[in-house]
Symmetry: C2
Subunit: 253 residues, 2 copies
């Protein structure tokens, strides 16, 4: 089975390393520059950890870099294993980040949002694979297929758009949830009230395109309600955001 060292012990590294270990991969070691994260993941996996890049286990076939985008190259350069497969898990970093560092390089990008303490069912998570050689592309596809039924080969160029769309569908959407929570909190109303609506809104796009399922005052061009809502908002920045989102819906229909 694949011998893997994980560089990084954040949300993604935690969930991915656990999933791979459960499928029989041998996680040899995990590295994190933060002792606390290193210890926590090391305990979960029951494998050794290090906080020093020069103490990285040299026996692995695959080194998976799940660190901050800007730390990938800095970490990789310090691991002297030119013959091993260097892989990162970032949506926005090109494969070329490993150029001149390792002979074999790859990307394994799971399109999902991860929390350290929340289990993820990987089976449906789409994995996007890239490699600088056909054999490692196959190796990474096979590795991903051990945990997911949704594995695709995709270029760095295309992957950055995938990541951009995910920022909208996850990060921006979550922020909008946050703003709605704030509106309710100011009125001492529970955020719980919105949960069935949030669920149904997410559920709907499985069967109907988001374009076709658009509802609300903006798409109806219901100007009096829009004006009333802008009056109800207390924060100038939220008024501006309400306006811009409403205009953006107008322009779309």
């Amino acid at each position: 089975m694949n011998k893997i060292v994980f560089i990084g012990a954040g949300n993604l590294a935690t969930r991915l390393s656990i999933a791979l270990q459960q499928c029989g991969c041998e996680i040899l070691q995990i590295y994190s520059r933060t002792e606390e994260s290193a210890v926590a993941l090391s305990k979960k996996l029951n494998v050794p950890y290090t906080t020093f890049l020069d103490k990285i286990n040299s026996e692995a076939e695959i080194y998976i870099f799940s660190v901050n985008d800007y730390a990938i190259r800095d970490c990789a350069i310090k691991i002297k294993k030119r013959e091993s497969l260097f892989v990162h898990t970032s949506g926005s970093v090109p494969l070329s980040v490993f150029d001149g560092i390792s002979i074999r390089s790859g990307v394994l990008y799971p399109l999902q949002t991860f929390s350290k303490e929340k289990n993820i069912d990987f089976e449906k998570v789409p994995f996007f694979i890239e490699s600088n050689n056909r054999k490692d592309e196959q190796l990474l596809c096979n590795l991903s297929r051990m945990i997911s039924q949704n594995v695709h080969v995709l270029s760095s160029e295309k992957r950055q758009y995938l990541h951009l769309s995910a920022v909208f569908a996850c990060n921006f959407v979550n922020h909008i949830y946050d703003l709605s929570a704030q509106i309710l909190q100011e009125q001492s109303l529970s955020f719980e009230y919105l949960i069935p609506l949030i669920e149904e809104t997410a559920e709907k796009v499985k069967t109907l395109s988001p374009h076709d399922s658009q509802t609300g005052p903006a798409v109806r061009y219901d100007v009096p309600t829009i004006r009333k809502h802008i009056r109800l908002l207390t924060d100038e920045k939220n008024k501006k955001l309400y306006n811009l989102l409403t205009q953006s819906i107008f322009n779309n229909f």
Copy 2:
């Protein structure tokens, strides 16, 4: 059992009238100014319909107005049943819309997004009830409890904030889904790839507040990625929206 006439045959009227009928309410008639909608709902319920307000059945105890916000008063004024309970289902229209028209008035606002052809499990849908008298408040609570376990009494004043927060959590969120779908479409990438992420993002807020689950380049203050994303966006309006949402996340942390 309650004898009800439905004024309106849109998404909400369709789902609500079906649910109430299934629980044993007697739907006497439905009205819609659009013959097509009237016929469609009339068939679903197997009850008569009319497209004329002066042909409304006068036997009902409750008249439920599920029409456009601005049509509620116009419709109500034409139904000469001062002794019956007039109820609307709108988030943003105050109870006072019935002032001077009916003696007994109420609001029954289900906080959910409805489609004519998609069944909704009403059991968890929060219902917000208001009435100008205690007896009808109780009547509407009991009526709602036949289909939902999540029934609350709430004033018109508070309800408008609930509606505002729902515009964020449903309409704006759905529009953001739409924008992410457009980004993918331009690159010939499937929107299907985002479904597990959309699901998980909605799922997360059940156990963690949206504020605590915020991730992404904005909350990390990852300026190079933010700049790259703005470069990737082709539409000036989407660049502006990306910027404003990113700033809004900055300001929140």
